[in-house]
Amino acid sequence: MTKKFLMALLTIFVAMIVMFVVIQSMPGDPVDIMATDIMKRQNVQYEIAYERAKSILNYDPEMPMTQRFFNYVKGIVTGNLGTSMTYQRSVASVVGGALPWTLLVVSLSLFLSFAVGVLLGIYIAWKRSKILNAVLIGYQSIFGAIPNYVLGYLLVFLFSVVLGVLPARGAYSTEVTPGFNGPFIRDVLTHACLPVLTYFLTTVAGWIISMKANSLSVLGEDYITYAQVRGLSNRRILTTYLSKNALLPLVTSLAVSFGLLFGGSPLIENLFFYPGVGYYLNKAIAARDYPLMQGMFFIIITMVVLSSFVAEFLYKYLNPRLRDA
């Protein structure tokens, strides 16, 4: 396990170095982008604007690549991710502010679609319902094919523009005071509704299908037949024999889709103006805010590696057949 953990750390490290190289080779220079902005707003000459931008951003484009790389690696190892150029705050605080929102939406939608998918999957397999199966295929053909952000737009159109029942943007409204109080929590949950619904509708069928397939293959096993012959109740077979064995392979997919949802967050969060990791990543890319970009990549990569690490651990823990190995 320690070896696996070290391997995970190494993977994060190498991935971050790759990202450094890619990010540094992006065309466009943050000072230039800000200077153009200052030039337009304050009506000064480009050279003056450039100097001003340089001092505001505290970034020297002439610094050699090796020096920058050295600082960067030192930053990762010591946990200092630098200061964001656009927000003038430490990257860690921007990341810390964004991460809970993405975690909230991603884990809520993952939990919902997983729970519903598993229950329906077992049900369809157990009942061998032809009608439900046809409905499932029809549903997946449409919702598996529509990009989730397009579906998001349609949901906004339906629930916010036409019906006007759900908020379409932001994580909470300005009227409530953030904190652990009823109105705030209710407000946060109503704001999370549409993003969660978007994720849910596009992913739930996938869970149903894999759960159904697993259940069907478990139902063909001898121990199920034997349990039936022994006269065990259907309820007992369902809970202890079928669901446990069919669920197991899904644990790994759970981690994979957690990573996928996390990585796909730029699209959904951009659409709902949801202040999560993906939203700030978009902002950082647009402004060429290198430290912030690197910070956001760091947190996304870490989440992906961490979740697959946890999945592997859980899989071993939950599967008694692997426990001694």
Binding site: A15, S141, A145
Partner: protein
């Protein structure tokens, strides 16, 4: 007879059945038949469209019109005909998806097969690289890359989209190769002194071809999703009539969500994308039967 032939393992694909068998098998499966028809319609759009249609001209007097006899799907913010743009767009959508699929499948096959077959140090190094690439989140990476590599044509676009997507498939192909590596027919070929290259071409690839084909289709699906996503975020200033471009313009310039007739201009490319994805999905359901000799009876 065929059973025996297969168990001895020294067997090439049944060349007599080939292309004709492939299509008749696809045709027999109802779902993949529908998929094939959908894909062929889009292919026809992509090939024939540019031959018969000219680039629509801007006509600001007739902008944002609803469907009419003259403009079946209405016009966009600049008065261009939506249907014409849609048909002309098919070519770029298909090309981008095709290149993305081909490039990532090629890399995945090379890495997966070489890694699985040779093993040892080569395997370790290739798998370390693959694992790192898998870890980097796909879409954010593509976002950054689409700015590093200036995307000017469908090939470059396909390259950017496939720069990461090969890794997961490479791992899967490697494990497939590891399974068949120790089968008797590979061993027989080795004993006969057949070169690694010939083993790969004649023994390994025919055994995983159905797997590759199914993945090729899903790569194309994903590539289209990602391409449209990048355009929707405005990261790819791709010239041409890509459906993703139409969606982006519909949302940013025409205010499609405000309940105007621009909703048609927004929905038209969306419906096409959904249909194309659906076609891919349905077509793929029959691919395994058509290409996997073991499933034939």
């Amino acid at each position: 007879m065929r059973k025996e032939q297969e168990s001895t393992g020294v067997r090439s694909l049944h060349k007599t059945s080939g292309v004709k068998y492939f299509f008749s098998s696809i045709w027999k499966n109802k779902m993949s038949r529908v998929g094939l028809i959908i894909l062929l319609v889009f292919l026809a759009m992509a090939v024939l469209g540019p031959l018969f249609l000219n680039q629509p001209k801007s006509d600001y007097l007739h902008r944002l019109q609803g469907p009419s006899a003259q403009h079946w799907l209405g016009t966009d913010y600049a008065g261009k005909d939506t249907l014409v743009q849609l048909i002309l767009g098919a070519k770029d959508v298909l090309l981008v998806a095709f290149f993305a699929g081909v490039i990532s499948i090629t890399i995945a096959c090379i890495v997966g097969i070489v890694s699985g077959l040779l093993g040892g140090k080569v395997d370790t190094i290739l798998m370390v690289i693959t694992n790192v690439v898998v870890t980097i989140p796909n879409f954010p990476l593509t976002m950054v890359l689409s700015m590093v590599i200036s995307i000017t044509n469908p090939f470059m676009f396909g390259l950017v989209l496939s720069i990461q997507s090969w890794a997961g498939l490479a791992k899967a192909i490697r494990s497939q190769v590891l399974i068949i590596k120790n089968k008797e027919f590979i061993e027989a070929s080795r004993i006969l002194g057949i070169s690694n290259f010939n083993i790969i071409v004649n023994d390994v690839i025919p055994n995983i071809i159905s797997y590759i084909a199914v993945n090729f289709i899903s790569m194309m699906k994903e590539a289209i999703m990602a391409a449209v996503g990048l355009m929707y975020l405005g990261l790819v200033p791709f010239q041409g009539n890509h459906w993703g471009m139409m969606i982006q313009l519909a949302l940013t310039v025409s205010g499609a969500m405000m309940g105007s007739s621009a909703i048609v201009y927004f929905l038209a490319p969306v419906v096409c994308i959904v249909l194309f994805q659906l076609g891919c999905y349905l077509f793929a359901t029959g691919l395994d039967d058509a290409l996997n000799p073991r499933l034939r009876n």
